[in-house]
Amino acid sequence: MSEPAITPELVAKHNLTPEEYQKILEILGRTPTYTELGIFSVMWSEHCSYKNTRPLLKGFPTKSATVLVGAGEENAGILDMGDGIAIAFKIESHNHPSAVEPFQGAATGVGGIVRDIFTMGARPVCALNSLRFGELSNPEVRRLFSGVVSGIAHYGNCFGIPTLGGEVYFDKSYEGNPLVNAFCLGVLRHEQITRGAAHGVGNPVFYVGPATGRDGLAGAAFASQDLTEESAEHQRGAVQVGDPFMEKLVCEACLELLATGAVAGMQDMGAAGLTCSTCETAARAGTGIEIELDRVPQRAPGMTSYEIMLSESQERMLVVVHRGREEEVQRIFDKWDLPWAHIGTVTDSGRMVVRHGGRIVVDIPAKQIADESPVYQREAREPKYLQEVRAFRLDGMADTLDAVGELKRLLAWPSIASKHWVYRQYDHQVRAGTVVLPGSDAAVIRIKADSLPVMSAELAAKVGDKPVPEKLLALSVDCNATYVYLDPYEGGKIAVAEAARNLACSGAVPLGATDNLNFGNPHNPEIFWQIQESVRGLADACRAFHAPVTGGNVSLYNQNPGGPIDPTPTVALVGLIADPAHITTQWFRDEGDAIILLGDAVDLADPLRGLGGSAHLQVAHGKKTGTPPRMNLEKEKTLHTTLLGLIQSGSVKSAHDCSEGGLAVAVAECCISQCVARGTPRLIGAELNLTLPPGVRLDALLFGETQSRVVISVADHDAVKVVERARLMGVPAARIGTVGGAPLSVAVGEARLTWSLQELHDLWWSSIDRLMQ
């Protein structure tokens, strides 16, 4: 078959610059073949190489005593959680595929991240996701929203992983470019950590999983371009089709296989498929790899080497086996009825060599393509729009005259309203480990003996019959992108702080973080500035909370003809709860309990009093502007330490963080968010007595989003002690009311505001349902 000649046009079509092409010529010492050009194109895409962001990512804290596998080393980072047990976790985006084909795009996003986790030798035990869409009034947005959610549900439910929750925001900037970030966490023993390295010269290389087809051709390269009007038509072939049933079989077979000790290295074929898995495994081990494409199972006749190498057909794995143990591997694949093939060998050449039809079609130094992609220091320039943002003042804007109606509108606002329409479609309890269901600040899961992969005979002998201690993990994923848009540095800090606050509210101490950086086109200096500043914010905050970043994903070029998305650096934090008695949820529990606000009622140093970038400003005034609330990391950390101390002392009956919608929304959620069963919410009233500080407006007091605040409830007789203790620790604290009564009522000076809980619950619980009908 004749291959196209390499012309400047063909190079440009592969998104390679003339300089990058020059570098390819230098590496090879000759003109690349068509297949090689394709390989460079995907391996040097942003998705695979982080060429635009690598210098920035160096700012993240990535080391600590608990980091067993660090960021960038492998498919996912691994942290120690004590007693010889470790967790592997990561978040990854599937934004562009989901924009083009929401169901399959989102489904394969879940498949990809789950594979990254079991590739490390870990058993995947839970998933989260972070989603962004345009406004639900647009029917096209509803189609994307509905397709993405059912795609995630389809894949995760069938695979059998509990999707514990996440976050969903709706904003115009995501219209046509939704964000789908999927997170997965797995559990393993330290000894079970598996490397994606092609060790052992002469070892055979196996391919396992379904046959390779033309689907998903060069998806990684597609993910690294702007979305255009034509994308939907032209790129549909770049979206993969997922088969969660196959993934479940591949996962179980791989975990069973790892327990035999016959595996020298393993890597999934994710982005850039066979290409990425072969050159990365060789590069990591400092070896070479040689494969024969005629042996690769193929779904379609007449596939070219270019197509086979760049296909992103799903659920495939590359397994390097210790020579002489091939039969054990084949036996397990056959037990699970999985297609497999022996496709190649580990060599000592340092080169990735691919043969097809008796010819060598690829011969590239593995290390250079995997590790030596170009790196760019892009130009950064503060965006112009920030001048206007910073100039915004409340002066010309009237205070609220209808606080009662305003709270209702906020609770019904899709970004704040209950997301049960979403999470009820996810199986969130499979594996019998979910302790706190979606709907509280953080999800909580228990890790028990059967969360761990099966052990090899050798390891089992070493471990003996010592029972596995049950452990409790709390998880939260957060990012208020409006804040990040209005102030990337502070917004970045707040994303981490809010996730950490959610963990603290559930009784957990952070173990580590993974981030998903979703931004527009980095060639635009204003966008690059957003990336740079928000990464700086994330890094500072992760350092403050001692949460090393163990990896993540960068998704750039998130823009559509209307412009870039709001910068969205999503952060997922994982924390450990020391004792089951410390598990805390957000809803009020008993009549007569005291309600205490930890933190300032209003930040008096903030000229906007916490209303900049607030939900109130967006909902009541249609304005997305103003400098967002400030984040003092020291103060925030003191709050968390204090709250955890109170929880550990047994005084705290509920804890809920104040975020979008401020104090009023937080307290309302404490009253209405407990769900006992289908159609059976537990509504419990509250009576608040608030004082308007001098010079503070009512809207700022009720709906301002001053940071570092948590609403807790404690037994009446503990209230004085708890307030004193918090103040002693340096956290402002005040009793603001009492749990009980039928309505939610708030007295502010002379004014008395009252809401029916049934009405608030209905608005909050059913608003997305109604919009989706």
Binding site: N157, C158, G160, R424, R678
Partner: protein, 236 residues
């Protein structure tokens, strides 16, 4: 007691069933679907999941697995079998239980906690459930809408084969309490001989305090109680 939990490709509640039975102090082991025999067991659990990806139709392929022939012999000999979620769907497909499970009325997968009313205490699966106790257990399925023709429904009623029905917190069998459109709010049934039962909800996810409900234990404890009185274990 000695339980076998069947394991089909993409069963995914198999470990959970083993876990809960062991937690209750009994022996439980997984049994791969290619096994032609059950060995010696006191009862069999057909667990939840997406056997064979639930492609074609839920449970439609699993019924042809070798282990299902053994299961049929076991049931014919009077052995006790409980199918949960996908297990219920498989037992219906295999005609070990009457009726069929079709797509939820909402056309969406639905995971939430429901209340279950036991229609009778006169079964090996419900004898420990107090008459005034509604079980709070989770469901998680896309095809859990119980369907049977009128004649079958009439027989089920007459013979007391309806074991569990979706109810509200007051025990009323309302339409609002019905999560999937099941006829007569049916969540679970047994066969005429009363040794094979299936239900869509997941009692194994509601059998420990830390998971928020222990009500599901009553179903396993009913079965265990029955087994402790039954004579020699059935063999297949």
């Amino acid at each position: 007691m000695n339980f076998a939990v069947l394991q089909f490709p993409a069963s995914n509640c198999d470990q959970d069933a083993v876990h809960v039975l062991q937690h209750l102090g009994h022996d439980a082991r997984l049994l791969w679907h290619k096994e032609p025999s059950l060995g010696t067991v006191d009862a069999v659990i057909v667990p939840g999941g997406f056997s064979y990806g639930d492609y074609l139709r839920t449970g439609a392929i699993a019924r042809f697995s070798p282990v299902m022939q053994a299961l049929r012999r076991f049931a014919d000999n009077g052995g006790f079998v409980l199918g949960i979620c996908n297990g219920f769907q498989i037992l219906c497909e295999a005609h070990l239980l009457p009726g069929a499970l079709v797509r939820n009325r909402s056309l969406q997968f639905c995971c939430e906690t429901v209340y279950l009313k036991s229609a009778t205490a006169d079964s090996p699966f419900t004898n420990k459930i107090p008459a005034d106790k509604w079980l709070r257990v989770p469901i998680a399925h896309g095809e859990g809408c119980y369907f049977a023709d009128d004649e079958t429904l009439a027989k089920l009623r007459a013979r007391g084969q309806i074991l569990w029905q979706y109810c509200d917190e007051s025990g009323a069998l309302t339409d609002a309490a019905n999560p999937n459109g099941s006829l007569l709010n049916i969540a679970g049934v047994c066969n005429e001989r009363r040794n094979v039962a299936g239900l869509m909800p997941h009692p194994e996810r509601a059998s420990e305090g830390i998971l928020g409900s222990e009500d599901g234990r009553l179903i396993f404890e009913s079965l265990i109680e029955t087994l402790s009185h039954s004579t020699a274990a059935a063999v297949a």
